[in-house]
């Protein structure tokens, strides 16, 4: 109910934002994509900020937490705005469910049409920040061929991870020195950062997720 209403608002807002949304995205990752930074001139940047405004009421980008990327850059979640986000919370030393969650995300990536793919980003948030340092995340990304331009890996502090988990309805608990029990959840956020699709179990075919993402990608 709430979602339907806010979705309508978002559609309107995102329509206003189309022109600058891809700019926004590259800005959030400017050091990861030096080529795009060169084209990011100052006045365009100022326009983009004006158009973007505050996150919508239902957007998880209302949080102010700061995160480190695999390259050690600090970003706010708000910098993920402008693209459809496929989000999962995992830990890289996980030997059971997490590799399957990652595999599912890659299956989604592989199944998206070209247009949707260009408007979608994949974000992995570690629930084990001590061990999943930016360096470790970078190594993990390299091992799994997670490209710079489509995959964001985040390291944050415990309280901020807990807050993000609460926003997504993701549950996790440390069960030993090395392991966690956790939801097997993949969340799709629309371009404004509102939760629009969630899947709580491992599935063979990501059909629902793919159609949900393609719809959101084409919608603004």
């Amino acid at each position: 109910m709430k979602n339907v209403l806010s979705f309508a608002t978002v559609t309107v807002v995102t329509l206003l934002l189309v022109a600058c949304s891809s700019k926004k995205q590259s800005d959030g990752h400017r050091q990861e994509e030096p080529m795009e930074m060169a084209g990011d001139n100052h006045s365009a940047h100022a326009d983009m900020q004006m158009g973007a405004g505050e996150p919508t009421d239902a957007s998880i980008y209302n949080v102010s937490s700061a995160w480190k990327t695999r390259y050690g850059n600090t970003i706010k979640l708000d910098s993920l705005r402008g693209k459809v986000q496929v989000v999962a919370m995992v830990y890289t030393y996980c030997e059971h469910a997490c590799p399957r969650i990652l595999a599912d995300m890659k299956r989604i990536e592989g199944a998206l049409n070209q247009d949707a793919l260009s408007k979608t980003n994949f974000t992995i948030v570690s629930i084990d920040p001590e061990r999943d340092s930016p360096q470790r995340l970078r190594q993990f990304a390299d091992e799994n061929n997670l490209s710079d331009n489509r995959w964001t890996l985040l390291n944050g502090d415990q309280g901020d991870i807990l807050e993000l988990a609460a926003l997504l309805g993701f549950k996790y608990k440390r069960v030993s020195e090395t392991d966690f029990t956790h939801s097997n959840m993949i969340t799709v956020l629309n371009k404004e950062g509102e939760v629009t699709y969630q899947r709580n179990k491992l599935v063979d075919k990501p059909t629902d997720a793919v159609s949900s993402i393609e719809k959101l990608a084409s919608g603004g």
Partner: protein, 262 residues
């Protein structure tokens, strides 16, 4: 000159000691220890370090101060992602406790989300207690710190769980404090804890689910033993927490704050 300085020092020390007094008055020092939580997949007992805990839940009047100071937590301003529409819906308006204001100003604030509770704690320079800290303090009765196995105590808690909520919540601190000098851990409201979302009831963690299933069966059976009943109160709390989402704003769910000792 000297004399002035001397008087000034006295005034300063009076001020600072009264500040300290006010703080310790509201918070009880909880000596850490080991206890048996309702369930734990780590091992049988859990260690809690010493910490400070508010002796009473946060009241409507106290929360009103917070809302005045933090416009984004006003009822009319709060973002829906941080609190569902029931947020503070027992109040009359943004700064108005409603027709029962006098009655409820010293009652625990309820209809607040986890995000709101957390923001309040941060504003106070505190934090929410962890689930284990809360349960540790909640297992104390009037006379001893670990009374979860005390049948009289367990039955008293279950008695409260079986009563419907009153229309207007009574003020805090009406009953007796527990071993730690803490009031209202049972009998008034349910309380948010920092890591409420570590409780699984949907089957991700098999160990937890096994224990919970056992209790669902016990709940439906009149043959449940007294040993089951002792834990049944804890089971209710864990099951309740497991059903919560962080934006929920529920009529009998409030909170209190904790702080590290340093």
């Amino acid at each position: 000159m000297n004399k002035k300085g001397y008087i000034f020092a006295i005034i300063l020390s009076v001020i600072s000691s009264s500040v300290i007094y006010a703080q310790t008055e509201e918070m009880a020092r909880i000596e850490g220890g080991r206890f048996m939580p309702f369930y734990s997949s780590l091992d049988d007992s859990v260690t809690v370090a010493s910490f400070l805990l508010d002796t009473t839940p946060v009241t409507n009047a106290e929360f009103l101060e917070f809302v005045r100071d933090n416009p984004k937590w006003r009822r009319s301003k709060v973002k829906s992602v941080f609190a569902e529409e029931n947020y503070l819906n027992h109040w009359g308006g943004d700064f108005d406790l409603g027709p029962d204001a006098d009655e409820i100003k010293n009652s625990p604030v309820t209809n607040i989300s986890w995000f709101a509770a957390r923001a309040y704690a941060k504003w106070k320079g505190k934090r929410l207690p962890t689930l284990n800290e809360w349960e540790f303090v909640a297992s104390a009765n009037q006379h001893k710190p670990l009374a979860a196995r005390d049948q009289k105590f367990a039955h008293k808690i279950l008695d409260w769980y079986s009563r419907p909520n009153p229309e207007v919540l009574p003020s805090t601190q009406q009953g007796k404090s527990n071993f730690w000098g803490v009031y209202d851990m049972h009998g008034l409201i349910w309380e948010w804890v920092q890591d409420f979302n570590t409780v699984f009831i949907s089957g991700e963690s098999r160990a937890d689910q096994g224990k919970l299933k056992q209790f669902y069966c016990a709940a439906g059976s009149s043959a449940a033993s007294d040993a089951d009943k002792e834990n049944y109160a804890a089971f209710l709390r864990y099951a309740f927490r497991g059903s919560l989402e962080a934006d929920f704003s529920v009529g009998n769910l409030g909170f209190r704050c904790a702080r590290d000792i340093n």
